[in-house]
């Protein structure tokens, strides 16, 4: 089943602006991960946040996790045209047996 639900489904912003995407999930988790997918390509791992972490940074990416609300957000600062892609959250739940459950994704378009 698809546990993660991303919001919004699509987002279009101007280059240089910040982009925020949200993810909600339903079960208790070990970790939450964000992936990026360019059109017609495989997914690329961006960042992982563990259930005992609240915030994590990697370059222009900032991820937050609120386990009480079962939600996460991905912030991309100073967006570039090359950031245009679909972004997916994925959760490994406590009973996960080494598998991930992916959300439906947010389609991000950066306009030059």
């Amino acid at each position: 089943s698809q546990q993660g639900e991303e919001d919004p489904q699509a987002l279009s912003i101007q280059e240089g602006e910040n982009a925020t995407m949200n993810c909600s999930y339903k079960t208790s988790i070990n970790n939450l991960q964000w992936y990026r997918q360019n059109s017609g390509r495989g997914l690329v791992h961006l960042i992982l946040i563990r259930s005992n972490e609240r915030e994590k940074h990697s370059g222009r990416l900032r991820v937050t996790l609120d386990t009480s609300k079962k939600s996460s957000s991905l912030l991309i600062t100073a967006s570039r045209a090359a950031d245009t892609a679909s972004y997916f959250c994925a959760t490994e739940d406590l009973q996960g047996a080494q598998k991930l459950v992916f959300g439906q994704g947010t389609r991000l378009t950066i306009n030059p």
Partner: protein, 113 residues
Amino acid sequence: SQTIHQWPATLVQPVGSPLSLECTVEGTSNPNLYWYRQAAGRGLQLLFYSVGIGQISSEVPQNLSASRPQDRQFILSSKKLLLSDSGFYLCAWSLGTGSNEQYFGPGTRLTVT
């Protein structure tokens, strides 16, 4: 470094024909291996995963099967394709321990006509 290969990149097959998609991983031993299907504009649906040779877990009852004949080889098969089998098929691997970050192949676009 590790690499993952999938082939073919695209495939057009008639309804009722067989299917074999192959995925191989280089540069690591005893990886976990995964097959996903992605419908257009949608998220990933986990089809099968394997934590070792000959060990296959099926997530969704369907027209497909998977096999792992060698440590770093994962094969997705069907005896008779259905129209509903069309989609983008992705193979991924992860280390057997740790946080289960997954690394994806380039995918196979399957169109059943």
